[in-house]
């Protein structure tokens, strides 16, 4: 018989969710998108994804073991998720050394310098992506076109993304209807037959993963639905006002990293608000800023910047938006 009993404060049971399970749930939800990207971009997709994941995990492990000299926590799966999301934000023909730099920035700078998991104010994968975009603008904007499973990696055939074509074209004064002929149809974009980063192409696969996460209660519907609705609404108003100058809302929802951002990047626990009301405001903010950047900004794609900008507001949202307290105020002596 055991000699002594264990005494701890209540509760004496815990639920079945753990950080690790949640992280691996996200990884599982990304599998359809991973499959789609391999299908469209071939070997390059596999190389980039693997390198990104391994580098992120390695950076976290090395920083914890040798610089911080604390226990290593790579087994909680968060570095793997960062690695996957970083890979999904870059072209599939990105050279390895750039990916590794991206991993060092994402995990080393955006996450570990702030204190590791739970302490970073900005989404690590997006910080890495934006850093790479600014540092290697050419390599980061030459998007391979979908070519089926080819074994080419660095020598993939590249072209502009539909969003890029639309953005450039509108700036040059071309009309929307003329531009629509140059880009894949809506249905093709839904299934992912377009140029772009690995994670942004297959909207169908991303929606599938997103629905899985909502079903498993890994995320709630508030952020993705709010972002998509806001973008649709805002672009819908613009398109309604002038269909020749502004692309239609379906186009906007299906292109760019919006699907990926709405379901996977903006819903990152650490950098998103903790109350449903806060999440809705966050989602609206991201939607509005995305449309602003896409329509009137210098970059064709705005989701990454929109999310990073709203990340800065999250502490404010957490501070001022409180959940509804039970019971009204009562004066007591």
């Amino acid at each position: 018989m055991n000699n002594i009993l264990n005494v701890s404060p209540s509760p004496h049971q815990a639920g079945s969710e753990t950080t690790r399970k949640l992280m691996y749930g996200v990884v599982f939800a990304l599998v359809p998108a991973m499959a789609a990207s391999v299908y469209y971009f071939g070997l390059g997709a596999i190389i980039v994804t693997l390198t990104s994941v391994i580098s992120c995990v390695a950076v976290e492990y090395l920083v914890q073991k040798f610089i911080l000299k604390t226990k290593t926590s790579v087994s909680d799966g968060s570095a793997i998720v960062t690695g996957l999301l970083l890979a999904f934000n870059v072209p599939s023909n990105l050279p390895l050394y750039i990916i590794i730099i991206g991993a060092i920035i994402s995990v080393g700078v955006a996450k570990m310098t702030f204190g590791g998991l739970g302490n970073n104010p900005f989404n690590p994968a997006l910080v890495g992506r934006v850093f790479l975009l600014i540092s290697f603008p050419v390599k980061m904007t030459s998007w391979p076109v979908p070519s089926g499973f080819k074994t080419g990696y660095l020598d993939a055939v590249t072209g502009a993304t539909p969003l890029g074509i639309m953005g450039e074209g509108l700036k040059n004064g071309e009309s929307v209807s003329a531009l629509m002929d140059k880009i894949p149809s809506h249905l093709q974009m839904f299934y992912g037959y377009m140029g772009g980063s690995m994670g942004e192409v297959a909207a169908a696969a991303l929606i599938l993963g997103g629905l899985y996460m909502i079903w498993k209660k890994i995320i709630t519907w508030h952020i993705p639905v709010t972002i998509l609705l806001t973008v649709a609404l805002f672009t819908g108003i613009l398109w309604f006002a002038d269909p020749d100058k502004f692309a239609d809302p379906i186009f906007h929802i299906l292109t760019g990293g919006l699907m990926l951002g709405a379901f996977f990047m903006a819903t990152d626990y650490v950098t998103s608000p903790m109350t449903p009301k806060g999440m809705v405001i966050y989602g609206v903010g991201i939607g509005v800023i995305t449309v602003l950047i896409r329509t009137w900004g210098a970059y064709p794609e705005g989701v990454s910047f929109a999310i990073l900008i709203m990340n800065a507001f999250v502490p404010l949202l957490n501070l001022y938006i409180k959940p509804r307290r039970f019971g009204k105020e009562v004066k007591h002596g």
């Binding site: 018989m1 055991n2 009993l5 264990n6 005494v7 701890s8 404060p9 209540s10 509760p11 004496h12 049971q13 815990a14 639920g15 969710e17 753990t18 950080t19 399970k21 949640l22 926590s73 909680d76 968060s78 590791g116 998991l117 739970g118 302490n119 626990y269 650490v270 608000p273 903790m274 109350t275 449903p276 409180k322 959940p323 509804r324 307290r325 039970f326 019971g327 009204k328 105020e329 009562v330 007591h332 002596g333």
Partner: protein, 424 residues
Amino acid sequence: MPVVVLPVPASVTIPVSQHIGAPAVPAVAKGDVVKTGQVIATAKGFVSANIHSSVSGKVSKIEPVIDTTGYKQMAVVIDVEGDEWIEGIDRSTDLVRKVTLSREQIVERCLQCGIVGLGGATFPTNIKMTVPAGKTCDMLIINGVECEPYLTSDHRLMIEKGEEVLTGASIIMKALGVTKAVIGIEANKPDAIINLAELSKNFDGITVQPLKVRYPQGGEKQLIKACTGREVPSGGLPLDVNIVVQNVGTAFAVYEAVQKNKPLIERVVTVTGKKVKEPGNFMVRIGTPVTKLIEAAGGMPDDTGKIVNGGPMMGKALALTDVPVTKGTSGIILFPEEESRREEIMPCIRCGKCSSACAMGLEPWLLSVAAEKTMYEKAEAEKITDCMECGACAYTCPARRPLLDYIRLGKATVMRKIRERNTK
């Protein structure tokens, strides 16, 4: 598991404080011979309760012993001889349906018989049954929810002693002066719902309300909201929304006190656990050592790692088994070693699941950090005093953070500071 009556043990230890309020004052001395049902400690002050001997025998000592709370309390230890009851108690099990006592007499009888709330809070029932001046009451709610997993004592009571429970409820209704009572039962006890719904047809004004299974619906504020939609104000009491809540066990004890003149000397305790050989519900005399209960359930399993007094969410872990059963003991759960240890603590991932789980609309992540860093003004401003300590937040946390440990500490400190501030 049907209720089994346990035999009287060889010795009982009866603490003088088994209720909220001032401990009772011992009314016997070492060497005195006492009978079952005799008063051995009297209530002190307004918020207090009588303590009765649950056995007959001789008082062997009156000294502090460690009880189920983990602290030393003054207790009366009695060596048992036979089972002689004092006169005036009706020990038959026939149902006595007619209530002949008046409103004031009912309250007086509950005070004399030492009846306290058996849902876990052990608040003296006679005080709860008296509506103070300036307040009104229009409804009684009977708490048959038993939301804590593993516990089944209330469930069995509702099935086996349904009519007594309902009579008890009507007695409380008379004392409060209300004509309407609702019994809230969670949907995972369909047999209890059917039984009481059927029996309540013979009782005026009592209805049964089935409720969705959701923790912590057994908390009185949550129960009131679920049954009536009324929200008790923060810092207030159910009477602020004209309701009084009583547990089914209390209703049964009130029935026994008023109709049979029987003081609170025994109660039903669930003994269960994954590896327990013969789990069951036992009717046991107050003061019986927990070791006897475990014996009756087939003995302590070899790999027992933790023993909890109460439910797994709000119960208190015992450091030793040589502690007595008190009026507030609703269950004893034995956890095997592999379920006894907490998992590794990970950093907070700011998922907000604790906040969605909180039934009082608080933010446990914030309160826990405030309490840990001794930021008590912030904790008070964020309403840490509203916390019911139900444990839903720590249960949900994926990072297994000890949220409730710190919140409980912070709440106790803040309440002490508030008391000090008010007495200045």
